[in-house]
Amino acid sequence: MIPAPHLDFLPLLPELIVAGVAVALLVGGALVGRPSQTVLLLLTLAGLIAAAAASAYLWNWDGPGRVLGEMIQADRLAVVSRMILLGVGAFGALYGHHYFARTGVARMEFYPLLLLAVSGMTLLVASADLIVVFLALEILSLALYILVALSFRMASAEASMKYFLLGAFSSAFFLYGLAMAYGAAGTTKIDGIALALSGRTGSQPLALAAVGLLLIGFGFKVSVVPFHMWTPDVYQGAPTSVTAFMAAGTKVAAFTALIRVLDVSFQPLTWDWRPAVWALAAASMVLGSLLAIAQTDLKRLLGYSSIAHAGFILTGLIATDGAGIAAVTFYLVAYSVTVLGAFGTVMLASGGIRERTSFDSFRGLAGRSPMLAGLLTLFLLSLAGIPPTVGFIAKAGVFGSAIRAGFWPLALIGVLASVVGAFFYLRVIVLMYMEEPQAELEPEGAALPGAALALAAGLTLVLGVFPQIILPVLEKAAILRW
């Protein structure tokens, strides 16, 4: 008789709630036929809030650090990242409600898929075993592939196919890396690998192969150069509401998991993976910024900017201390808030489902809608990292931690890339304010996404002026228990 394992489901409660609501909506929606979008939205938000409450409760969790057969991590980094992700999910639901209501076609599947993607993301940040990391990555990716295809524009199907093929390709690399890690250490536990590698039971060459392959897998998900080619296409082709959600959510989830894998599992090999991460970060910052200059479509531009931002985040990751982790989490908060705001504004300013996102549609936006133009300016300034926005504090944080760890050349490359970046963000601002409108687009005003935008703008400014509101929390979360 195998004894039933001691089961402590509490640290998994947020995921159980989110996935449970998703399943309930799926079945309930199918039984009802064409359920009301507003009801679906309210239920989705209720589920996310309940999960956030459960997650907040776990902040003072004093049980074992890992539960459910040491598969799930119950630390504060998981709590903080979950809170960010649940917030991102709420933004995604509000945007999606607006977007899909406009198409005149009620897409019931949007909400369950969004919730499943959120549950995959939150599971990813709480995983204590590479098996769970793999499963969570797949849960979020599979849901995102379909979300990208949800609009009936041709570009949406195409984006989904590209995302899917490259995503599946990258999961194969990730899984191969996982197999190598298992071969090197004889275990897939995130901390067990570190123990094996620092002791005598680990195999160095296999472990190096593992780090390389896992970096390729993560590199695709967070879109760092040279694994970035899908990003602009998918960001442009996906419905804008979905782009906003995936841009913020995937980065938060995958980077948090990457922190765990690099700083814990492969901590004994730090000196081996640092040069690789250094090169990835530098290439992403430089190429992301340079390629963005030539763009004439705002969504595509934000896609390239997200590549550059992935590089900035990696810069913070290279310093493997607590302050570095705190800087990375702060950057993730800043990027989420800003990019959700930016894509939200684009969604409202680009004629809804018509998705006129080329620069022409934004010429003279200030004349037609000073409000949207002002908001977009704020978010673009934050993406460029100009004070007093949150983007500035975030960039200062990651560059600071890179310099402290002795990687000042990388920080210098980052500063130069930011200068280049400021140029193309400013160009968009100039054409909104200085140029005559060419396209007659009616910018939409909408209550729900408008409120979300106001919140994003508020956070961008408030966290930019008073970052100390959340910094102590992030610093407490940055202590990895293992």
């Binding site: 079945v27 897409r107 009936f152």
Partner: protein, 142 residues
């Protein structure tokens, strides 16, 4: 070591011999009077217009194949569980019940969406597709 495979080899040989023997026997026993009309390939009594070579499978088959794969693969979790069913006891039973319930949820969803209908009734997804195309045209026009 290799000797363990001998029974398999013998069985394979017997099966092959049986096929050859029965084909040979039937060719001896059956009457054979070929004529040009009998040898011609035909399609419901008509000359075939085109060979079915480049013919694509209907999308319906893909849908059925997808359903099959997903439910088929889920059962691989049942095998290890069944092997150690007694050892796992009540806990294993409950876990497996939860798992099967979730698979059942997917089944209900597919059923309700009309995924199991061979002749496609107008179902929500199809209607939206039609509406989506209208929308595309609108976008192209304006």
């Amino acid at each position: 070591m290799l000797g363990d495979y001998l029974p398999v080899l013998i069985l394979g040989g017997l099966a092959f011999a049986f096929v050859v023997a029965s084909l040979f026997a039937s060719s001896l026993l059956r009457p054979s009077r070929p004529s040009p009309a009998k040898l011609a390939p035909y399609e419901c009594g008509n000359e075939p217009v085109r060979l079915p070579k480049g013919e694509k499978f209907s999308v319906k088959f893909y849908v059925v194949a997808m359903m099959f794969i997903i439910f088929d693969i889920e059962t691989i979790f049942l095998f290890p569980w069944a092997v150690s069913f007694r050892k796992l006891g009540l806990f294993g039973l409950v876990e497996m019940a939860v798992f099967i319930a979730l698979v059942f949820v997917a089944y209900v969803y597919i059923w309700m969406q009309g995924g199991l209908e061979w002749e496609q009734a107008p179902r929500p997804m199809e209607r939206t597709a039609a509406e989506g195309e209208q929308e595309e045209e609108l976008l192209r026009a304006g």
